[in-house]
């Protein structure tokens, strides 16, 4: 059973020691990682994904339930308690969507035959244009690829730690994703430039120059701010979908969404 993971400090890009004792993330906790581009956000979650032991560029170490993770956990996908959605929006494997998911299910030792169907159906909830079973994964668009990989992470990876790198960037229905993984008892980590996601998480890690600069807890005011932002975000979402569908902006649309 996964209770927590602990990250021990490494060094920043200049080789200077990071300024924290350790960061513990507990089951059920939501975390965002924010900071300028190139500040080391992806590097931090990659350390978690690789369960780094001082053998990455950052020299960080990661413990699982307070203990050194054994080799089997580091190197066997079937035992790895972590799924990660990376910034990549391409697949290179010459496989159909169905074959790709079947092999991944074997890698993760998932026997359930329904899981492939369920994963494709779930992916299609996140994306506009539908993904079909017999599409080659290589022809999927960036957004379709990420939708598929997110659905795969949730249903086939099905791990207690889920790391997501800038899911807002793929043009997918991110709120659907967030609703699905919240309150599932997982450790959920978002690398994000999106203020709504950042304010909605309980813990906020701020990065700079390859190092953790600060760790903040969500305060009361931020919970309210997040709710307001979420409302605005929904309104923007309605307009986005209208535009995507080829509609023009009308007075009614603006009145419904932004009348104050």
């Amino acid at each position: 059973m996964l209770q927590n993971i602990t990250i021990f400090p490494g060094v920043d890009k200049g080789g200077r020691q990071e300024n924290f004792d350790y960061i513990t993330l507990k089951a059920g906790e939501t975390v965002s990682i924010v900071g300028p581009t190139g500040s080391g956000k992806t590097a931090l979650i990659t350390d978690v994904e690789l369960l780094a032991q001082g053998d990455t560029a950052t020299r960080r170490r990661v413990l699982v339930n307070g203990e050194l993770p054994p080799d089997e956990i580091r190197y066997n996908p079937a035992l790895k308690p972590i799924v990660m959605i990376t910034q990549n929006t391409k697949c290179f494997a010459d496989l159909s969507v169905e074959e790709f998911l079947q092999i991944h299910a074997r890698a993760r030792k998932i026997d359930d035959r329904q899981v492939i169907r369920a994963t494709i159906d779930l992916a299609n909830k996140f994306t506009g244009e539908k993904i079909k079973d017999d599409y080659k994964v290589t022809i999927l668009s960036g957004g379709q690829t990420r939708s598929l990989l997110i659905a795969d992470a949730i249903l086939i990876g099905a791990a207690p730690i889920i790391l997501m790198d800038e899911i807002e960037n793929a043009g997918i229905f991110r709120q659907e994703v967030i609703n699905l993984i919240q309150n599932t008892g997982k450790i959920v980590v978002f690398v994000t430039h999106d203020p709504v996601i950042a304010l909605l998480t309980e813990t906020r890690v701020i990065m700079e120059n390859g190092a953790v600069k600060k760790v903040l807890r969500q305060n009361e005011l931020e919970i309210t701010a997040a709710k307001n932002l979420l409302e605005i975000d929904k309104k923007i979402g309605v307009i986005r979908e209208e535009l995507r569908a080829g509609k023009a902006i009308t007075n009614e649309l603006m009145a419904v969404n932004f009348a104050s």
């Binding site: 190197y75 990549n88 496989l95 890698a107 086939i156």
Partner: protein, 208 residues
């Protein structure tokens, strides 16, 4: 640890210069030309072990181009390591034959370029070819997450150079290696032979 490095390639290689410059280790290279790189290795590896030993090396790294994939350069001793890029194609593990199925260790590189799921799909493909291979993944530009490889190398047994054999079975053929002689060192072979220093015998070598 004192390291010696040999690159066997077909027409052109720069690793000897690059690695010497970057890490200050002892390096050299051999071009196999019209020979297959595995054949060239069988010929010169005996001499190469002597060369590494005479230079007091603790570790000898041999990088081979290994092109036709029918054979493999792995020996009965030491560690056989296949380095495979994440984007080399999903069917590569099956297509590479003995290069994968006889390796002790597989190192998957370029994991920074693909999703976690795609990495795991490739790993699964490798495991289906070779269930007991020791697998690890890295972003080779940073040398991420390779402690396991370093440990395997540190803990590997010393070489007994009088007992070096090819691990795999060579194909049927008419050259000494092709007919099944697996002893390392040109002294054990005839036909097309090659020494570490010096050209391939003129009278049997038909190059450009």
């Amino acid at each position: 640890m004192r390291i010696a490095f040999l690159k066997i390639d077909v027409v052109k290689a720069f690793e000897d210069l690059e690695l010497n410059k970057e890490f200050g280790i002892l390096t050299r290279k051999v071009y196999s030309g019209d020979l297959c790189p595995d054949h060239a290795e069988v010929m010169i590896l005996g001499d190469t072990v002597d060369w590494a030993e005479n230079n007091a090396a603790d570790l000898l790294i041999v990088e081979s181009a290994g092109l036709c994939l029918r054979c493999s350069p792995y020996l009965n001793q030491g560690l056989g390591i296949i380095v495979l890029s994440s984007i080399s194609g999903i069917h590569t593990p099956e297509k590479m034959g003995a290069m994968v199925s006889l390796a002790d260790v597989a190192v998957i590189t370029k994991i920074d370029l693909v999703s976690q799921a795609e990495r795991e799909v490739l790993i699964q493909k490798i495991k289906e070819v070779h269930p007991n291979i020791a697998l690890m993944e890295t972003n080779a530009l940073q040398g991420n997450s390779l402690n396991r490889l370093y440990d395997l190398i540190k803990n590997s047994a010393a070489i007994d150079k009088s007992n070096l054999f090819l691990k795999g079975n060579p194909p049927l053929g008419t050259c000494t290696i092709c007919v099944g002689k697996k002893e390392i060192g040109w002294q054990h072979h005839f036909g097309v032979i090659q020494k570490l220093d010096g050209p391939i015998a003129e009278y049997l070598y038909r190059g450009e």
